[in-house]
Every structure is written in C-alpha cells, then in structure tokens.
C-alpha cells in the first residue's frame, strides 16, 4: 500500500487530472458542459482507482464468462447437442419478429461473420498475420458484380465461383510470401490489399473504376427474387451456420491441428513431419475462399459494388473481430463479428465518438480478457482445470 501511495504521489498526481481534463475537453463540443464534466470525473476516478490497485483484482469479468462456459460444458450431451439447433430456431423466429432495420444490421453482421471465420483460419489457426483480407472480399464481390451484369450469371452460380477465384488469389498471395514471418508478412499482405483496391479503382474497362458497378441482380430462389431484409438475413444465417459447422470440424481435424502446431512453433511442426509450406498455402486459399463467398453475398445484398467498400479499414475491422472473439476460435470469430457490427449501432448516439468508444472498448478488452471472449477450446479447458486445483 505504501509503495502504491508513493508511486501515486510521484507519477499519478498530475497525470490523472491531466488525462481527465484532456478527455473532458474532447467531450465538450459534443456533450456539453455537463457531459464533459461527467466524462472527466469518470476518467479521474478510473485513473485513481487504477493507481490504488483497485483494478488489479481483474478476473471479475473473465470469471463470469468462464463460469458460464463451465456450466455449459457440464450440461448433459443431449442438451448440448440440441443447443445449436435451438439457437438457430430462435434466430429464424427472430427473422419474422425484428424490424427491417435491425435485420439489415444483423445481415451485415453475418457478412462480417463470414469474413471473420475466413480470416480466423489464416490468422487464428495458422498464425499468419494477414492485413489485406479485404482484397479477397473485393475479389468475391466484383466476381459476382461483373459476371452478373455482363454475362447474366446468377447468384448461386457465382457463390462458388467467387469463392474459388478468391481462393486462387489467396494462393497467388501465398506463393511469394511463404518464407516471410510475422511483421514482414503483415506488411506484404497489407500491400497486396492496397494493390487490389487500387486496381479495382483504376481498371475502368472491367471494374468501371471509382464509380463502381450498378444494377447487380439480387439472389433469387425458385424464381422468387430477394426483396426484403428478412430474406437476406435468413440467407446470412444459413451461410454462417453452415460455415461454423464445417469449420468447427476442420478445426478439430488433422489439418486444423497441423495449422495450430505451425502457429505454435513452425520449426518443430516441420520437424514433426508437417509440410508447413503446403499448409500455409492451404490456409491462405481456404481463408480467401470464405472472404470471396462473403464478397459475393455483399454484392448480392448491396446490388452495387465500388472499391470504397474494400479498403484497409475493413481489413482491420475484420482482424479486430477475430482478436476480440478469440484467435483461433470458430464461435469466437462469429461472436466478435456480431459484437463489432452492432456496437457502432448502439453507439450511434455519440456519433463522432463512435470510433473513439470503439477503440476504448478494444483496449479494455485486451486489458481484461486478452485471449478473447470465447478462447480456443484447449485454452479454456486449461483455465478451468487450473481453477479446480
């Protein structure tokens, strides 16, 4: 305590009020005098609490989550087996209850979930930091837009084509970067993302440049064309559920295990007979496939594509979803995508400050639950065993 007090008087006495003042000034033009005062006071209290070590007993929130998961894992298998179906039924029912606006946001969340599931393969499972993921998203979206407006191909035909073409791009990105690790890989993939966006922006004859492509046809089922957010929501639900189902199996399979092994220690993985170069290419193309599928869906929903939608910020956003949900965790990727898609809507009230609040949420998350909301299974298991003795 004495040591903390000493540290407090030495470092914190001025730092805490200074940051309180700073945040207060930031808030002033948007929230008025009273609002700014509340913000300052909150910041000040928070900083002082931190200085006194009141925030050190940190497992409060994780404990709650871990305990909830503990209860879930103790449920009888019959209940656990039917839980996903029950959840799915509830979501289907919600499609007929919720208003179009909420359904639209939920559909966007579904698209992000597909993207996060894809990125999770390469970043979460295989441990390769890719910062240009929006490129594959763009490839998928433009594939559908071009094939539909020029050649009249339908949504369902383009869904696998867009995925496959994106996977091919993933392979193309993978090949020259196979021997790069960590930061170097991140920079090259970032460059790749930008190259793709700039190409879309400038290749007028094919992509119609910055004006984008208008008049993409919506998906249709048995001659009945999608025209209500509910239809898109149900499609998103179907695609995400199918992806989760497939990717959970993949995660637990021989290939998923090899990816995680490679992430943990590439040299050891190679020495254990895992062909790391081939598995990296596989991870890139699988991830890109999901990115491409998400892109086709996006184009079918917006009925318009332009290069703006596939910028660097999108890549970062999807990465945040994966990190927030828990790297390498399939349900985590979906959860992260849903949370970060709805968060801006919830924060719409603070308008200009959405990004700030968003950043704050990320920082708090990393401080209190660095392994994500829904960490990979073996990690969670270990945490539970450690607690039980």
């Amino acid at each position: 305590m004495a040591r903390r007090l000493a540290a407090f008087s030495k470092n914190g006495r001025f730092a805490a009020p200074a940051s309180a003042l700073f945040f207060g000034l930031l808030a002033l033009p948007f929230m008025g005098l009273l609002g700014a005062f509340v913000v300052s006071a909150t910041v000040l209290l928070f900083r002082w609490a931190a200085l006194y070590g009141l925030l050190e007993r940190r497992p409060r929130m994780p404990d709650f989550l871990a305990r909830a998961r503990g209860h879930v894992s103790k449920l009888p298998p019959a209940v656990k087996g039917t839980a996903p179906m029950a959840l799915l039924s509830i979501l289907v029912a919600l499609a007929f209850v919720l208003d179009p606006y909420t359904l639209d946001v939920a559909t966007t969340a579904g698209i992000y979930a597909l993207l996060a599931l894809g990125l999770n393969i390469v970043v979460g499972m295989a441990g390769l930091l890719v910062l240009g993921f929006a490129a594959f998203y763009g490839v998928g979206a433009y594939t559908y837009a071009i094939l539909n407006t020029h050649y009249g191909l339908g949504f369902w035909t383009c869904l696998p084509i867009g995925g496959a073409l994106a996977a091919l791009f993933g392979l193309l990105l993978g090949l020259p970067t196979l021997r790069l690790r960590g930061d170097y890989l991140a920079i090259v993939t970032l460059g790749f993302g930008e190259i793709t966006r700039i190409t879309l922006n400038n290749w007028d004859s094919v992509t119609n440049g910055p004006n984008g492509i208008l008049g993409v046809a919506p998906p249709s089922v048995f001659g009945f064309s999608f025209d209500h957010p509910r239809h898109y929501f149900l499609l998103a639900l179907a695609l995400v559920s199918l992806s989760v189902f497939l990717l959970k199996r993949l995660d637990k399979s021989r290939v998923g295990r090899a990816w995680v092994a490679m992430r943990e220690d590439e040299t050891a993985a190679e020495a254990m007979g895992i062909p790391t170069l081939r598995l990296k290419l596989l991870a890139f193309s699988m991830a890109a496939f999901w990115g491409g599928v998400a892109g086709v869906f996006f184009a079918g929903k917006q009925l318009f594509v332009s290069p703006e939608s596939f910028n660097f910020l999108e890549s970062v956003m999807v990465l945040c979803m994966v990190v927030l949900g828990g790297m390498g965790s399939v349900p985590g990727a979906v959860l992260g995508a849903v949370l970060l898609s709805f968060l801006p809507e919830v924060l719409r009230g603070v308008d200009q400050y959405r990004l700030l609040a968003f950043g704050l949420a990320m920082v708090l998350m990393m401080r209190y639950r660095p392994s994500g909301i829904w960490p990979e299974a073996h990690r969670a298991l270990e945490a539970k065993e450690a607690r039980n003795g």
């Binding site: 993949l250 399979s253 995680v260 990690r379 270990e382």
Partner: protein, 257 residues
C-alpha cells in the same frame, strides 16, 4: 546389421566458422549411439544437418542407403528419421494429447474436404490417431496429464512429451538432443529406462547428451566431437580412458617444466 544412418565426410560452414569438418559416423540398426563433446563442439549441427534443418556444405547423409541431402525436414521425418530439440519445442498452447496427435500428421492422410464432411475414412482415422496418441502418452508415463496444456507440464514431463510426440511419427531412427538437460537424478533415471524401452521397440537411438552417467550407462557406442572434428569413437569404457577426450573436456595437462 543394416546401416541405419551414415554420415559421410559431413562439413558445415557458416561464413567464417567451420562448425563441422569431414565428420563421419555410422549408426547400425538397433544401436544406441551417443554423440558427446564440450559445448559448441558442433553436436547439434550434426543433428541439424542430418534432419534437413541445415543443408550441409559438404558430404552426404545416408538413411538406410538413401541420400537425404537437400530434402526438407518434413520429408526426412516421414522417411523415419525423427528428432527432438535441445531447447524443448512443444506446441505450448495445445494439450499434451494434441501434441502427440500432431506428431501423427505424417502417418495420416485426411484432407480438408474429408474432414469438413466427416467422411467415414476421416472419422475412423481421427479415432485411430487419438488411440495411438493415448497409448504413446501411456508409454512415456503421461496418461494422467493428457488434457494438461503442454507448457504447464513440469520440465521432465515436457521432455517425455517431446519423445512421445516424436514416437508418434513412427521413427526408425530417433535423434534425441540432450533429453536429460535440466533433469534431476530421479528424472534422469526414468529417462534412461524410457530410452531402453524405445530401443526395445526396435527403434535405433542417436543421442546427444552431456549427462555422463546416462551416456555411459546405455550407449553401445560413443562418438566424441570437439571443435567440429571427431576426436574419438568407441565403447563407453574405451572413451572414458581416452587421453584426447579427457584433454578436450578438462584441458591439457601442464607440461612438467
């Protein structure tokens, strides 16, 4: 007896440093051969060259008569030459069981699609992988800890787990790089038993070790390396009395003036 591993005139040069010079060694099938030498003698370099982590600048690596030079490590492992690491390199966040299961990778074939669709072949293969991994954990005495995260195991346990993971790849020759490093005497005793058990499975053992009681206790032959050059080779008793070996370890006796 068949020639399991033959290193012929092996040289490894890192720019100015000659780490290994014209090194020759034969390991026959079923033997336990130990490679010893002072720190920095080039022992691990021998392993790295043999298992494809380095491409030797000269000489040949022959494995049951097959030339391994230039092959990537995973191919060499699949052929049956498997190694462990001096500084334990487990897959830290995976459970003990998953670590061993990962070692089965090169002995299984299920791909992305058969796994995602849960085809019967993939399901039964996965079950076989799990069973094999369980039996290997039992073999090294870690059955109780199969769900523990690898990095949470005690030091000796991690060493054993690394051996189990290597055994999962079905080696014909197992290269152990200082498996007793950092172990206490009782753990070392257990390790000696384990290595003998491995040999009784018909697996040839090529060992790098500093722990003399272990080396002298289980080796059929001992090879001594100093400054990248082989200075002695023979049965354990012969090595213990070799003047050159004693000099390499303890320094030269001062000439009587």
């Amino acid at each position: 007896m068949a020639e399991a591993l033959a290193l012929k005139g092996l040289s490894m040069r890192f720019q100015g440093l000659q780490a290994l010079e014209n090194f020759g060694l034969l390991v026959s099938e079923g033997e336990i051969v130990s490679l010893i030498g002072p720190n920095g003698a080039g022992k691990t370099t021998v392993f790295n060259c043999a298992t494809g982590h380095y491409t030797p600048t000269g000489g040949d690596v022959l494995f049951f008569g097959r030339r391994l030079n230039g092959m990537p490590p995973h191919t060499i492992t699949r052929l049956g030459l498997v190694r462990t690491f001096q500084n334990i390199r487990l897959f830290g966040s995976m459970s003990a069981l998953e670590n061993v299961m990962a070692g089965r990778h090169c002995r299984s074939r299920a791909g992305v699609f058969s796994s995602m669709l849960a085809l019967p072949s993939a399901v039964s293969e996965e079950r076989a992988i799990r069973e094999k991994a369980r039996s290997l954990l039992e073999f090294v005495g870690l059955s109780e800890r199969e769900r523990a995260k690898a990095m949470d195991l005690p030091y000796g346990g991690q060493r054993r787990l690394e051996i189990a993971r290597a055994l999962a790849a079905e080696p014909r020759v197992l290269c152990l790089d200082e498996p007793a490093a950092g172990m206490n005497p009782s753990e070392t005793g257990g390790l000696m038993e384990l290595i003998s058990k491995v040999r009784s499975l018909g697996i040839t053992v090529f060992l790098i070790e500093h722990h003399m009681r272990l080396v002298m206790g289980i080796s059929d032959r001992v090879v001594v390396l100093d400054h990248g050059v082989k200075i002695a080779e023979g049965k354990p008793q012969e090595i213990q009395h070799d003047r050159k070996v004693i000099e390499a370890y303890l320094g030269q006796e001062a000439p009587v003036a």
